[in-house]
């Protein structure tokens, strides 16, 4: 994954920050995820409209002393991993409520 990457939170989750950790529960299958502080920053920042590399530069690289490419690679891996579980959505186009619907389970 490289280039234009937009990421958005799925509407089919429940999430709450408890202390420094973000707990995210899939409303589909009740699986519980815990995000570490860095992942929590990304979770809170992804809005479907801002490119992932812009988020990484503004929220991660400015906060932590990390290499931009490495941080973006890690962020893309995290986004892909969470997208597999259906709690994040990834697209090469901006993600709006209209195009973010995931087919309902039948």
């Amino acid at each position: 994954m490289s280039g234009r990457v937009y990421v958005a939170r799925s509407a089919r989750v429940a999430a709450r920050k408890l202390g420094e950790e973000m707990l995210v529960m899939s409303a589909v299958d009740s699986t519980l995820f815990t995000l570490n502080p860095t992942a929590t920053i990304l979770w809170e920042a992804v809005d479907g409209a801002t490119l992932l590399d812009e988020i990484v530069n503004s929220k991660i690289c400015s906060e932590f002393e990390v290499n931009g490419e490495e941080a973006l690679r890690d962020a893309e891996m995290l986004a892909k991993d969470l997208a597999k579980h259906g709690i994040l959505l990834i697209s090469d186009q901006p993600i709006t409520p209209a195009n973010s619907r995931v087919p309902e389970r039948v």
């Binding site: 089919r12 429940a14 408890l18 202390g19 707990l23 529960m25 409303a27 009740s30 519980l32």
Partner: protein
């Protein structure tokens, strides 16, 4: 005195008698109707301390129980709880039930045993509580000095042991499944008839909840703080919840998160020693 010689059958004689009782748990009353007097006796025994048999007593919900053989009698089969057009369908190997919260009525088909209806009641209560920020949780609970304490853990964590060690002035609410309701200024813990190894129905009473202890067995008694995130994960892991329904999952999740923000949660490591209760405040 002679009886009239007639062949007519009184109208009521063609209808099965209806036996009825009201089971009130956590302040929520459920009327159960059955045509089987023996099954009524089973329920009276199973829910002793939580039943009322006054015919005119108002109940919030009502279930008719149809006794018969279900397709399977396996109570260990997976339970399925789904919502269709506002009606909840509950199914396990040993029962099939429907419940319409709109009409407040439901129907259970099961054999004459107390375990199937017990499961249905637990499910119905979890659904009702989820909308109110409350829940059922795998934990023992007791009242002491006017305050309720929960002791949560999986099977083998020590729920029954901590219950057995309770001092005489403690009121046992349950050794297995605790009932938690949100109140104006905190949470209330209620007694339940859902017993574990102690095989003793809890006291039908309630008290403001002071703390939740996550149980662990160890060589000595000690209490440690738990991070709010750990508390949230543990509460979620121990909550009873069955519904395959996205809205309900969200409600349960938010309910657990609200709870750990308002109720102190600690890890309680204890030896099988009554002095552990000196730490419970």
């Amino acid at each position: 005195m002679s009886f009239p010689n007639t062949f007519s059958v009184p109208r009521l004689a063609t209808q099965a008698a209806v036996y009825s009782l009201v089971i009130t748990i956590g302040g929520i009353s459920v009327r159960v109707n059955t045509s089987d007097a023996d099954f009524l006796a089973i329920l009276q025994n199973r829910y002793a301390g939580f039943v009322s048999e006054q015919a005119n007593e108002e109940a919030e919900f009502e279930f008719d129980v149809d006794l018969g053989q279900s397709e399977s009698s396996d109570p260990d089969a997976d339970v399925s709880v789904t919502c269709r057009e506002g009606r909840w369908l509950m199914q396990r190997g040993d029962f099939r039930a429907e419940w319409d919260p709109g009409t407040r009525r439901g129907h259970i088909r099961q054999s004459a045993n107390p375990y199937s209806i017990d499961a249905v009641l637990r499910i119905v209560h979890t659904l009702l509580l989820a909308r109110q920020g409350g829940f059922l949780i795998h934990s023992a609970s007791a009242i002491r000095n006017g305050k309720a304490f929960l002791f949560a853990g999986i099977s083998g964590a020590g729920k029954t042991t901590i219950s057995r060690l309770a001092p005489a002035d403690a009121t046992l609410l349950t050794d297995e499944i605790s009932y938690v309701r949100k109140a104006e200024d905190g949470y209330l813990a209620f007694g339940t008839p859902f017993a574990g190894e102690l095989a003793k129905v809890g006291e039908n009473t309630r008290a403001p909840l002071a703390a939740l202890y996550l149980l662990a067995k160890g060589p000595q008694n000690r209490i440690e703080p738990v991070s709010v995130a750990d508390a949230g994960r543990e509460v979620l892991a121990n909550m009873l919840f069955f519904a395959e329904d996205q809205e309900m999952v969200r409600l349960v999740f938010q309910g657990a998160c609200d709870f750990v923000h308002r109720v102190p949660v600690y890890r309680l490591t204890f030896a099988p020693d009554p002095r552990v209760w000196e730490l419970i405040r």
